[in-house]
Symmetry: C2
Subunit: 241 residues, 2 copies
DNA sequence: ACCTGAACACCGTTCAAGT
DNA sequence: ACCTGAACACCGTTCAAGT
């Protein structure tokens, strides 16, 4: 408690939507979803709630704007190292999102919510589009475009979100290997009768690299995507009888 | 407004954790995450907040218990029609979750949260385990068990969640095809320069069957899972150069 | 046009007190 | 052991009033 937040704000600096969104991101980063409060926001910006409501419709819109800002920055990084395969392009976008969610764990929930509330609005549309284009470039037949793209996006968001959540379960400074060790031990103590699989998989958790694990999942889905339209593989012909 | 909730409660019936969880599920179903309130709960059960806190530690625990109850019911349905392939088994579990989330949309957020907060606790562990066993039965090499299983689980939760959210975007009685039509049209009106892919995929959205689409995604991942360990396919050997 | 800040209707949670 | 209900510290949001 009594954590001094910076008072550096020149109170003369004009209030703007951007400044509000920036402060919102800072609060979310510092204390998660619960940290974004109109009281905290007014204190940090040294104004009253009315001032904020003049620039922003409500808390929901503010959350959306914060999400937009962070994701847009993450997707914009990519410079133009020209010759890349569609797979590499997909991995780059996926890793960009993975790292953004890792830095801003609140993004995971927010993106899922926003993605489902209005898929064609704002950021989520850009994510869908950028993955979709590569699916298309991969030579996937048009019938499978939608399935393949949304499959990938769901995996990316889900896996990245879980990783971020794992990272924050304990304090920010807990040793990663120490934490994974604890998880692994917890799994190993499960009832052997009820959880044989989870127990067997326990040490795979212990020493896995986050990025590697994440990319392995991407490749898994990509393998499925490309295998589907090879001779003998149709969407309606499941992988085995 | 002024929606009459049932007053049928015999006030003499003893308060119990089960009865509280049951009421919580009803409130969540009726009005979503925001509908679960200690005031609403006390009214429905005709008690005070103190009584509820005697049976339940806090709101988080109550949400967890509600999630547990609903998912356990969904996974328990499966009778023993004996001979099934692992794929069929996976599809059955996936569809069970899909339908449960469709009936109780709040489950999506809740499961993701719970899944990441403590993967080894309660329901999420059971989901992971039941999918994992089939992955194992599929002959996937042990190295890929964890990746394959969590990939599938993420897809299932993500896709089911999005479907449920879509279903509730408009009122519960809006025609499905009418809604999909609106989405499709919205996509078609996107900027052709920025969103060529999304526009191209717009009519695939218009006439898709939810279950079919969902299962196609499952098969896509399953194809990847099984293809990985065929001759020539290793986890570290991405689907194309 | 932009900002102030008191006020409103909520929320989760606690706790002395009852039975 | 189980329940009551007033009270506390918080929310998001509004709005008359100022500049």
């Amino acid at each position: 408690m009594a954590t001094r937040t910076r008072r550096s704000q020149r109170r003369t600096e004009a209030l703007s939507r951007e400044r509000i969104v920036g402060a919102a991101v800072e609060l979310l980063d510092a204390a998660g979803e619960g940290g974004l409060t109109f009281r905290a926001l007014t204190e940090r910006l040294s104004t009253g709630p009315g001032a904020i409501y003049w620039h922003v419709a409500n808390k929901g819109e503010l959350l959306g704007a914060a999400t937009d800002a962070v994701v847009a920055a993450a997707l914009a990084i990519e410079p133009d190292k020209s010759p890349k395969t569609p797979q590499d392009e997909i991995r780059a976008v996926a890793l960009g999102l993975f790292d953004a969610i890792d830095e801003h764990p609140w993004l995971a929930t927010q993106l899922s919510t926003q993605f489902s509330r209005s898929p064609w609005g704002s950021v989520t549309a850009r994510i869908f589009e950028s993955i979709g284009r590569q699916i298309c470039a991969l030579g996937v037949p048009e019938d499978n475009w939608f399935t393949a793209t949304s499959g990938l996006v769901h995996y990316i968001l889900g896996a990245a979100g879980q990783n971020a959540a794992n990272a924050r379960v304990l304090g920010p400074d807990v040793d990663r290997t120490e934490f994974l060790d604890a998880v692994s031990r917890a799994w190993e103590e499960l009832d052997p009768g009820d959880y044989p699989f989870t127990r067997a998989v326990a040490d795979q958790v212990r020493d896995h690299d986050d990025h590697e694990q994440f990319l392995a999942g991407i490749d898994l889905v990509l393998t499925g995507v490309t295998a589907l339209h090879l001779p003998g593989g149709q969407a309606d012909t499941p992988p085995a009888a």
